[in-house]
């Protein structure tokens, strides 16, 4: 029935309207997980270039140094940091630790993440 639970309604997971910080964290964790999984597949595909000889690999490395690909790599770093730190929050909560402060922990981890992502962005675009 229209209003009953159904696995086909999974897109609702990604609807942040009218919801609280906990759901935003829930959505962020799923989006970053999907992003990291897609990256893993791409990463394995690119490693496969090694089997095609040094020329193929060198051309891929040249491509990896373009700003667009660098930006994509920054997104991977961001996803890893956000997913990892949020994972620590979820693990703590699941052990019954700091459950009442889950919102505050999420805000702290967001601040830490933004700081770390800014550092990596500076490193990747200006120092590397």
């Amino acid at each position: 029935m229209e209003n009953s639970p159904s696995s086909s309604k999974f897109m609702r997971w990604f609807d942040p309207r009218y919801r609280q910080v906990g759901t935003w964290a829930f959505i962020l964790n799923r989006v970053t997980a999907i992003g990291l999984t897609v990256y893993l597949v791409l990463h394995l595909f690119m490693l496969g270039k090694l089997a095609q000889g040094p020329e193929a690999y060198d051309s891929f490395i040249a491509l990896a140094k373009t700003p667009l690909i660098k930006f994509g790599e920054l997104l991977v770093v961001a996803a890893g940091i956000l997913h990892g730190l949020n994972g620590i929050r979820i693990t703590l909560n699941s052990f019954g630790v700091l459950v009442r402060y889950q919102k505050q922990i999420f805000i702290i981890l967001l601040i830490l993440s933004v700081t770390a992502i800014a550092y990596f962005a500076y490193f990747m675009f200006f120092l590397a």
């Binding site: 029935m1 229209e2 209003n3 009953s4 639970p5 159904s6 696995s7 309604k9 999974f10 609702r12 997971w13 309207r17 009218y18 919801r19 609280q20 910080v21 906990g22 759901t23 964290a25 829930f26 979820i90 909560n93 699941s94 052990f95 019954g96 459950v99 009442r100 889950q102 919102k103």
Partner: protein, 239 residues
């Protein structure tokens, strides 16, 4: 004297197995009235066919829980002023994750059955009826009504409950925690130590944010997880 507001009340209409649609009613209301008052006025003066649940009108029975502008609210204690503005809209829908029987009335029978399976009692000693982090915990034999009013709003707000019909849901898991706290019966732990029990929860904490009665189902689910992990580790080291 309070100025009256003109609002548009947009109400979800649906009879079993028929397609859902919305009816709009223009109402003149006192903004300090409650949302339930506006719904009742529609039933009294505009459409006697409107189906909705209500009983106590003071947040004790949990019957009048609905979605108000997309958020789960106990309509008998939600003032119109707090959810809309003059010339604004009020969209009223039935709770999510329960089959609709008629208009705003949902079938909560499975929820009540599961609460019974969890051996949920409406009365407990003052200590057992309180959460451990609450300040006033009197260790006496006096009893009081427990906080859960069985409104089902936690189930409606839960993202995990959107996609799994078998999931116990936050309210029922909170009831298991409450019962285990009193009885220390391992059967209660085993009943929730499964895929559709405490491990289905995805830590969105929506249940606790919409709960009108400070049950804090999310805290209770996490507490059950902790107890289950402790019990499992205990068994591991005993071997």
């Amino acid at each position: 004297m309070t100025d009256l507001w003109n609002i548009s009340l947009i109400i979800s209409r649906q009879k079993t197995a028929r397609k859902r649609y919305f009816d709009t009613f223009q109402l003149e209301v006192n903004p300090d009235e409650y949302v339930l008052d506006a719904v009742e006025r529609v039933w009294a003066f505009h459409d006697r066919g409107l189906a909705f649940r209500h009983a106590c009108h003071h947040s004790t029975c949990g019957a009048c829980a609905m979605l108000v502008n997309g958020v789960e609210k106990l309509t008998c204690i939600t003032s119109i002023r707090s959810v809309t503005h003059n010339s604004g809209k009020l969209k009223i829908e039935p709770l999510r994750n329960f089959p609709v029987i008629s208009d705003l009335v949902v079938d909560m029978s499975s929820f009540y059955t599961n609460l019974e399976l969890a051996r949920f009692t409406q009365v407990a000693t003052l200590k057992d009826a309180s959460l451990p982090y609450e300040k006033e915990q009197l260790d006496t034999t006096h009893e009081r009504l427990v906080d859960c009013i069985e409104c089902g709003m936690c189930v409606s707000a839960c993202p995990a409950a959107h996609t799994s019909e078998k999931y116990h849901g936050p309210g029922v898991l909170a009831a298991y925690q409450h019962s285990y706290n009193q009885e220390k019966d391992q059967f209660l732990l085993e009943a929730v130590d499964c895929q559709d029990g405490v491990w289905r929860c995805h830590n969105a904490f929506e249940c606790s944010s919409v709960c009108p009665s400070n049950v804090d189902p999310a805290w209770r689910i996490m507490n059950l997880r902790r107890i289950i992990i402790q019990t499992r580790l205990g068994r591991l080291f005993k071997k």
